[in-house]
Amino acid sequence: MTIENHVALLLFRAQDQLAHGDPSGAIETLRLALSAAPDDATAHALLALALVQARRRHAARVEASMALALDPEAPFPHLAMGSVHRAHGDLDAAEAEYRRYVELSPGAPAGHRALADVLRARGRTAEAREALDRALALDAADPETLAARAELALTTGDLAEAERWARAALAEDAENQDALVALGGALLRRGQVEEARELAVAALQEDATSTGALQLLAQVKARQSWLLGLWWRWGTFFERFGPARQILILMLLYVLYRFAVITLRGAGMTEAAQLAQWGWLAFAAYTWFSPALFRRSLEKELAKVRLKPGF
């Protein structure tokens, strides 16, 4: 077998592993491919996507940059770099890369879908809808695009529309993760908690690493306990800011709390200062213990999930 054939087979295998939620497996396969062909731009780009899935964002950026340097006119490295920017929360740069991908490969629904995803994240839902319509015009039965349409409807709060698109996606592919999660999300918002839980479990049976399914299950658990639900809402709100901003926000809260205590003491209001200290202590204890309790509650649920044979 020639190196080209060997590498092509490895890339095919890595794509399959990625599609089945196995980024670690894909990374090892691509390591083999790049050991044989270190200048293969597609392999670097695919590795960047696998690293994004594995949350290794620094390495993902390096790989996507290498892919772009090796072949700047190829569409796929732009898709990979867009995903790296998206993972870093740099939506401007992600949109630019996805637009470049669409420009270079207008016939690929994946580009329009990725663009729609970033536009949705930026709150430009009308433009996101247009991008998804273009993807549907290319392939009206693509379950990924139908599921993306359901997610978009869920974002805009149109639950009936979300359910309709999710069911259309599931009619094409009964195991589609995104569609199961979007349908679950719509049912949960309607108060159908148990049905949503079943859909999350069904999605996890297909892919136990599915972030969307785990999030849906966490939302279900958050509905069942107000104490944990409060932490979940705080956590999801806080998650939007990215790690660096999160640290800065927490430090700002700490500085404000300490300033308040000093000021209150200086004004002779020792009881109020004491109250502020108790409040801060309670906040610290709550944010320390809640994630552990939440995780334990989620793990109990996950222990019941029966994985599909061969996962």
């Binding site: 190196i3 060997h6 090892e28 590795l47 620094h58 390495a59 640290i247 430090m251 300490r258 000093i262």
Partner: protein
């Protein structure tokens, strides 16, 4: 190209650690983080630096920069506050607020170092690297009379210098 050996995975990904002899002393970075909070930067910052090398972390330069930079910046801030107070540029009460900012800078540096090192630690464990517990060192650090550490430097740096070292590293 046919016949070339293609079965060995030699490609190295950018963030993968390259542990050396110190790898057996690697700890979960939560321990230096706790050391910074509970014992002081005199223990936390050097421990972060040591751990960066023990893990063979791919981001060790940035980790060292954050750990050391935060201590240096907080020292400079404190020096600035003292200077301002000495020359009556600021009222004394401002020093109280200033000391909070100094602590916040130290902790921010520690959190950023922790964030970087935690990712390297995950990979270190993924590749089966050895891990030791940092609890004994943390306990020793917490029990150590850190407020007396810098007293022997009194003839060289003066009272103000000792105070500065205590606030920044203690």
């Amino acid at each position: 190209m046919a016949g070339v050996h293609v079965g060995t995975a030699t490609y190295r990904i950018a963030d993968e650690p390259s542990p050396g002899r110190l790898a057996r002393f690697a700890v979960n970075p939560i321990w230096p983080m706790l050391a910074t909070m509970l014992a002081g930067s005199w223990l936390g910052a050097p421990w972060f630096v040591f751990n960066a090398f023990a893990l063979g972390s791919a981001t060790r330069r940035r980790e060292v920069a954050w750990a050391v930079g935060a201590v240096l910046l907080s020292a400079a801030m404190l020096q600035g506050f003292f200077f301002a107070a000495e020359h009556r540029l600021l009222p004394l009460v401002v020093l109280r607020y200033g000391s909070v900012l100094v602590t916040a800078v130290r902790l921010t540096g520690a959190y950023f170092t922790y964030g970087l090192q935690d990712a390297s630690f995950d990979l270190h464990r993924y590749f089966g690297g050895p891990v030791v517990t940092g609890a004994p060192l943390l306990i020793v650090g917490m029990l150590a009379p850190s407020h007396r550490f810098f007293d022997p430097l009194l003839p060289y740096v003066g009272k103000l210098g000792v105070l500065l070292l205590n606030v920044v590293l203690g």
